[in-house]
Subunit: 162 residues, 6 copies
């Protein structure tokens, strides 16, 4: 078993603001990240894939296939974008990097079988650096693979909370 991790980068802007909180609460919780016109980051996205080697090729997966998955399902919609305005999931979710990580994990899990129909390799983790100081990691255990999406679970909690 080997874990291959490939790095992608994208820049985007966001504003941290929750419709469920008052202006004062938003300011207190999110600080400068609540500034009205937003700010941005150069996100570094590490995607981890775990599996056995193909004994003939010595590869876990072909990286161009992983590139197509990540570009189509994530980068095409996130890069050079305003996450609040341009990414559907963030009409309901605050685009904290925690939520960005879960949304990306969900998109990649959903697309996985289309891009790797015959591979026994699986998506095992996602790590995203917001800045050089802050990173956010989602470990995807084997048992969690058939679990409902991270997003729907979050949306339900939001509705219950609201």
């Amino acid at each position: 078993m080997i874990t291959v991790t490939r790095r992608y980068r994208f820049c985007a802007s966001h504003r941290l603001h929750s419709e469920l909180l008052s202006d004062a609460e938003n300011a207190r919780v999110f600080g400068k990240c609540n500034n009205p016109y937003g700010h941005g980051h150069d996100y570094v996205l590490d995607i981890s894939v775990t599996g056995e080697l193909n004994a003939t090729t010595g590869l876990v997966v072909r990286l161009p296939d992983l590139d197509r998955l990540v570009k189509t399902e994530v980068l095409a919609g996130f890069a050079y974008r305003n996450l609040n305005q341009d990414v559907a999931e963030f009409t309901e979710l605050v685009p904290t990097t925690e939520n960005v990580a879960l949304v990306i994990a969900d998109r990649l899990r959903k697309g996985w079988r289309d891009y790797f129909p015959y591979s026994s390799a699986r998506l095992s983790g996602i790590s995203i650096q917001e800045t050089e100081r802050n990173s956010f990691e989602v470990v995807i255990s084997q048992s969690a693979e058939s679990a409902p999406s991270f997003i729907s679970k979050l949306n339900e909690s939001v509705i219950v909370n609201a």
Copy 2:
């Protein structure tokens, strides 16, 4: 003569769009950076100061003084901000990182004597990384110190061009 370079970081968002160009020209010139809702970066800002050592202290300048200058004149207005909306200079200038570098150079040159009234050390350069791939450097020669501001020169060119 020694050059001391100190690194600062700030995140901000911007949109590359010139009022002097048509929408089609803006799209052609700026590509994805012209996306309507903007995107953002984690800018890395290196400030260089050149001078002789103070023979008693072995220092060129005291770095806390440099920190106060950079924080007050630059970071307070740029960090966690939308450059187009929140920074006065960019109501007329496109916030390319080239222009961001010149604006920062001008602000630091103007404030220099207030923060370093007795020092013979001078601001000798500014370098700003937009992403890990793109950086922009302004070298400030000794003779350029009494030159008019970079910004006013740019504004004049814009007017002539318009």
Copy 3:
């Protein structure tokens, strides 16, 4: 479940020398790190916190709270210090980076509830880079949370050994 890792830095000096060993043994075990007047490092400290997202805010913890914990319990006493002379735990323990990691883990575990009284997020790991080549990681499993402190365990071993 998401793990947030935040990076801190501090510089300090230390000398590796054990009172339980002869001078010759100290020289053999610690090599140049046993040089009598000490040397120093720029330590890079990564603190990992694991928990569920708050569904309203999209955050695991508020990072300013984590900053206060780390600054008060660790950085205030370690940064710009001589670990052997200035940090109480190292009157008995050799300040190897292994021990520095355990001492920091203990301090953060002890302070955790004061800084995060209502959060279900927990301290899940500490990693410290001594140099760009050497790093030291403590994984704190959920079951280890009620365990006695790492330090007291070490001190007991030292006494037994001595």
Copy 4:
């Protein structure tokens, strides 16, 4: 329990090409990495060792011992070399970085007891960066320590496959 990770570097060249595949299949699977005269990388190799601290010295292992192991068993044969031509294991295995990681893991596991005869610390992981974008990690669990070598298992699969 602490995990110490020490970083090594070596440059080498390789060509990805399998004798079990046709030229067209090799080109399709390996792309530019199949170019006939090969290419190369600066590999970054992180070796992780996990164990309890020695209570007297505050060390998990002495790093000079680890250096001797890694230099003798790996770097002496890999650095400044062509992996296909100069490293015995790659006469049968394609020198993908996945296979390079397994070969290194095997060599270090075999040599471990000679270099650390009395230590309870164990080799717990190997991570190798091929480029700044691609890294490959082998986690060595405690139960896997008595398992047959990674290489022999691979060779058997290759034979079955052929």
Copy 5:
């Protein structure tokens, strides 16, 4: 005047060996880099362009134009290649990174006017990292722009030397 520096990366292999030297001299001069089957690196290539800003766009050059120049004239022939076998200039020149830098500088200077026909910006420098420890920089002064190519000068010296 601003200098924009953009980073490119390519991996390649090489062997340091001069036909003008005996085997013993080659071994003495180039050490392990003379190993018969070669080795390789992940080269990091920084291209610097200096000029005035376009007052309307706020750009020195459009980076996609620079990308096309570098990809066509350099990366297409160097990436995933064996420099000795695959790059014409190195049939006569030893592919030290010094020579690689000069060859790249020459190729970019020759192609410059085709890619930037109307721009007053000029190629002002090339820096190439062979490893994280070794980098090689060519500064191209304004007066050197009409100078004969770096390569032809080298070839002449070789002939004189031989």
Copy 6:
């Protein structure tokens, strides 16, 4: 003309304190760096050498020769040391990184001809990073090569000042 820059690293400790200043002045000027027992850093030292290529070998200098110079004249006395106690020059000079840079420049200039007796390449610059935020650069122009040592000039100033 090419400039080759090679990177070295060393860890050391220091305390910033001037005998020419009162305790209160020392505390005001040096802040935490004046803490009585000192602290330390992992210094990153970049040495730049400029010259024409040897047309036969394609090298500016042989790096093993540079390594011997830097190890003998600098690293042997600085690495794993307390700069105030262990390095002769700092009995009179405060070991600010500015002074460390000048002392290193002087030592390398003095030793240059012994290590490169026939080379036309010259020491053209020294850059030292104290932390990831602060770096200090000495540019050595061709005309400065016959100048008196940086240290003696500093000592004279100190005497005049005292």
